[in-house]
Amino acid sequence: MSFQQVIYPSLAFILLAPVVGLVFSGYDRVLSSRMQGRQGPPFLQPLYDIVKLFNKEATVVNRVQTAMVIAFLIFSVFTGCIFFVGSDLLLVFFALTLAEVFLMLAACSTNSPYSSMGSQRELLSIMAYEPMTLLTAIGFYMISGSFNVSEIINRDVPAIVELPGMFAGFVFILIIKFRKSPFDLSTSHHAHQEMVKGVTQDISGNVLGIMELAELYETVLMMAIVALFFITKNPFSYVWAVLACFIVYFILILIDNVFPRVKWEKMLLVTWGVTFALGGANLLILDMIKIAEGW
C-alpha cells in the first residue's frame, strides 16, 4: 500500500466524517421530535450543540479524565482511518474496543458514583455486543476470503445476500453502540435517567465537545460497516449503500422512540440470543454451503 493510498482516504475521513455524522445526528433529532408529535429543533441543532460546547469552559475534575477523552477521540479517528484505508476489519473492531476502553477509563477516573456506574454499564454493553462484531468480521472473511475491507468491497455480489443474519444481528447491536433506548444504559442523549448522565456525568464544556466529536466519528464508522454489506464492484451499489444506511438509522430511531430502557441482564440475554440465533445460524449455513460445494 503506497503512501497516497493511506493519506488521502484518512484525510478525507478526518475532514468529512464530522459533517456526515452531523447529518445523521440532525436527521435523528428532527425525526425523533416528529415521531413524538413535536416541531423539534432545527436540522443543524447538533452543530449548534458542538459549537456551544467548544465555547464553554470545562470544569475539570482531574487531569486524567481530559487525557482519556482525548485518547478516545484519537482512537476513534484512528479506527475510522484503518477502515477507510481499506485495511483489516478485525483490527478495526479491536481498535474500536480500545477507544471504548479509554472512554470507560475517563468515566471511572472520577469520584462521581453516577460516572463510575455508567462506566461499569458501558463494560457490560461491550460484553453484550462484542461477540456479534467478531462474528460479522468472520462472516465477511467466510464469503470473501479476506479480512481486508478493500477486498470485501471488490466482489460481484453484495455481502448481504450471503450474510442476511449477520446484517440483522449487526443492526441489532447498533442500538447498543449508538446508546439508543432500550439499551441506553450507560448514558443517554435523552433527559433524566436513573443515573443522570452516566458516563458523561463529569465531562463538561469543551471536553464534552471532544467526546461528542468522537461520537460523530464512531457514528460514521458504524454506518460505513452497514454500507459494507451492500457495496460491490459496481459503482451504482454505493447509492444502495447510502440508502440502506438511512433506512437502518430510521429503524434505530424508531426503536429508540418505541421501547423503554431495560435492565442489563435482559440486554445481555437478548443480545447474545440474537447473536447466536442470527449470527451463529448464518455462519453455520455458510459453512454447510462451503462443505456442499466441496463435494
Binding site: 421530535s33 413535536r38 429543533p41 441543532q45 464553554k56 470545562a58 433527559a191 448522565k197 463538561s204 464544556g205
Partner: protein
Amino acid sequence: MKISKSPWLLHYDASSCNGCDIEVLAATTPVYDIERFGIINTGNPKHADILVITGGVNAQNATVVKQIYSQMPDPKVVVAAGICACDGGIFKDCYNILGGTDTVIPVDVYVPGCAVRPEALIDGISKAIAMLDEKKQAAIEHASCQIHYEDKED
C-alpha cells in the same frame, strides 16, 4: 455562531409546592415544546447553561443551590420561576424560608406567577438565552482587558 443556539437547562426544585415544577415539565411537552429552541432538559449541572429554580430557598437546601450553581460551567444564567423563587411568595414569612433564590445566588431573570405559566416561562427562558450571549461577550472582553493589563505590567 452564537452560543445561545443550544441552551441546556437544569431544573432544580428548591422548596416548591410542585405547582411550578409541573409547569416547567409542561413546557417540555409536545404542546409547548421548548426543544424547538434547542433546549434540552439535562439533569446534570455540569452540562447546563440555564438553571431554572422553582420554590423559595430554605435553610436546608441553600447549600445545595449554591453547590449546583458553582458546578455549572461559565457562561451561565439563572431563572427564578414562580413567585416563590422570585421572593419567597406566600411562604415568605415561614421560619425556615430564607426568601427568593437571589438570597443565595445571583438571579438573571425573574418569572412571576403562581404557578408560573408555561408561556411566561418560555418568555423568561428566551430572555435568559439572550443573556448567555451577552455574558460570553463580556467574558471575552474581560479576558482581552486582562491581557492588556498584563502587557502593561511587563
